[in-house]
Symmetry: C2
Subunit: 418 residues, 2 copies
């Protein structure tokens, strides 16, 4: 609260300067009229289930594909509208009648159990605001490929993340009801999609903060998010948050399923051709959403740099912003509430002098882990940095500091490999 | 965090008991199959702007009227989906092209200013999760009228409230840019709807936590909420949060507008026929959303009582639940985050023994103010309690403790005047 108040006062103190700098943005009212082109919707036209204004056009892209991305360039606050939440779809979006759908818990348990949605809803519930992010979001391969297509925007480089208020039953409660037997170490979560997408989850995570979530942003989970319910393993790669959940089998060993052994893995050169499996948790990650690649600044003057920071391992404690290519960094203001394993909105006042500038953000979480540079990432991988510029290797969990370049014309470009 | 963890452990400890009590809810899996009736949506059918499942049918009611209400009986967590957020509409829902719309700030200011939406978006912004509630929500007149119609549900008694993550510009910043002159005490906020809905706002509130909000739950404010932007005076009666905001005039005195003098007032008998004007702030208020009037319990056993609490004056500190008609009260668990002037979700484990029961909640905010009983409300009004059962008087800001009766058949009824 105090930090927030201080932040507010800081802006207010800068207000005088702002009035001059934002001359393009604030004009005198003299001689202007109040013309608004208004057509009417009568009260009798109000809708039972509302829609957005027809003047709003931001959408997920590209629709009709396996991977539709959140338009982060238009994001506000920390909640991702469910209608704009990214979805990575491996097979299909099953249309499930919740009255017909069941969740089976079996394997190494004392009492195999089956739940309907209605039965799950009778149990003690929790609501938590968490991000879900595809493991491949921001991966160099996708960035290189998409740069090739000449359409380089934050929507494409970072759009496979979203943040919702999820409501559901703690998985630990269901497992306790079933009675986990000795020797159990993992569980296999299986979806009801056409390919029976399955993932191995360590029992420790399942008994920790994992949820079976049936609610998203105050209503039912959306079809593309796993309706009528999904597994939520907060902070872990999206692919492990099994959608359309229908089966949990408690077992001794992971099952080495398709998507944990042949995709969503990292092919490390220093591992001599071997892949690294079972990488679970997102490290601290942040990105400036405005101004970001694909946008345009109308001219010099005041801008509020705004972005999102998150960490799969905890709570964001600090975000710094550089507007000079990483030579100097200043602390950004964090918008409350700052929540565990959730998108956190940061803001930073900036007076653009009209010269070329490289802007970027870096965050630190409450474990003290700092978002890495691409050079630090290369070092971890045992490669030179330019390896990432050409690799076709499978790569997941890319959380590097991401630079945007503002040209003198005001165009904002991806500056990662420039 | 600690409170949350403790709450979790409490449920887990009760898990063993729960297994027995929820016998109706948890069945053995022996001999059951995994039959799901699944039809497919192929990836190429994924939508640019998503929709909910066709099996989800909860809606605002009654559509096509001046007042469409949030279906609180189906609410989860604290966020109200924008598509289900209540709207009280006084004239019409104007269809506004944001490129044509302007906000004028004039009157007792040094520099009259006009802003476009784009210009507002360039200024320093904030995001805050706040409820908005119609001043007439839960008023005895509406309750009595609606009881008469024989359809008595929480949707009708409490549905004119909603909670969103709002994003916008602090009004204080705009007023500072304009330069408020000496002698200014109020401002008049005017909307672009057909009737030019206008409200007088004390300058102190305008310079406090008021916002000009263009964002709602991560996207543009919905048309019925004031697209492209609205005034937000957190914690104050909904009618003062002027939608489709187009003009702010800084003045010396309130304007005594239609909706602050002839409606949204309280007609107090002890004031001898006079009405009380300029009542602004919601007191502490809470209601059990499940089980609530209009719902039905399938049988005795474990239920999680769940509800919402909020206060226009601050943060909810405590919610108590009674399941014996108010003889005894026990503390409910608050779901984090617990935010200032926001809906707060509470939960309370309950084993229904199958006998008639009256359940209700009462909350306390961080100023120590406690939600009143109807008798306390009557005392404040200088009337006997049954006055409220028949009055046709205009009444606003009703925040009384609200009882639901569970019959032996499991029906849940409004028990206010029973």
């Amino acid at each position: 609260m105090n930090a927030k108040e201080r932040g507010r006062r800081r802006f207010l103190k800068e207000g005088a300067a702002l009035a001059g700098l934002a001359a393009g943005a604030i004009r005198s009212a003299s001689g202007q009229t109040l013309a608004s082109e208004i057509s009417d919707v009568r009260p009798q036209d109000t809708r039972a289930y509302g829609e957005r204004s027809r003047f709003e056009t931001t959408v997920r892209t590209p629709p009709g594909t396996l991977s539709i991305s959140t338009p982060l360039q238009d994001s506000m606050g920390i909640i991702t509208p469910s209608a704009l939440h990214f979805a990575a779809i491996h097979y299909n979006v099953p249309t499930i009648d919740p009255r017909q759908h069941r969740l089976l818990i079996h394997g190494l348990v004392d009492r195999p159990l089956i739940f309907t949605l209605e039965e799950l809803k009778r149990l003690p519930s929790v609501s938590r605001i968490h991000f879900v992010e595809c493991g491949g979001n921001t991966s160099p391969r996708s960035v290189v490929e998409r740069r090739g297509a000449g359409a380089d925007t934050i929507h494409k480089t970072h759009g496979n993340t979203g943040c919702s208020e999820w409501t559901g039953v703690p998985l630990s409660l269901l497992l306790q009801e079933a009675g986990v037997q000795k020797g159990a170490r993992w569980l296999i979560a299986e979806g009801a999609d056409a390919g029976k997408h399955a993932m191995s989850i360590p029992l420790e995570k399942a008994l920790g903060d994992a949820l079976v979530a049936y609610g998203q942003n105050g209503e039912a989970v959306r079809p593309e998010q796993g309706y009528p319910f999904r597994l939520l393993v907060p902070g872990w790669v999206g692919v492990r948050n099994v959608k359309w959940l229908r089966r949990i089998k408690v077992v001794e060993q992971p099952f080495m399923t398709k998507h944990e052994t042949t995709s969503y893995v990292s092919l490390y050169p220093k591992l001599d051709g071997k892949t690294r499996w079972f990488q679970f948790e997102w490290g601290p990650k942040s990105v400036i959403t405005f101004p970001s690649a694909g946008q345009r600044l109308p001219g010099r003057g005041f801008y509020e740099i705004s972005g999102l920071a998150w960490s799969g391992g905890g709570t964001i404690r600090r975000v710094e912003v550089s507007t000079d290519g990483g030579r100097s960094w200043k602390e950004a203001q964090l918008q409350e509430p700052v929540l565990r394993i959730a998108h956190t909105r940061f803001r930073f006042p900036w007076n653009w002098d009209g010269e070329e500038a490289v802007i970027q953000s870096r965050c630190t979480d409450d474990r003290g882990e700092v978002q890495p540079t691409i050079d630090e990432m290369a070092e971890m991988w045992g490669v030179k940095t330019d390896f990432f510029q050409t690799t076709q290797n499978s790569v997941i969990l890319w959380n590097i500091i991401y630079p945007w370049k503002v040209t003198r014309e005001g165009s904002v470009l991806n500056a990662l490999f420039s």
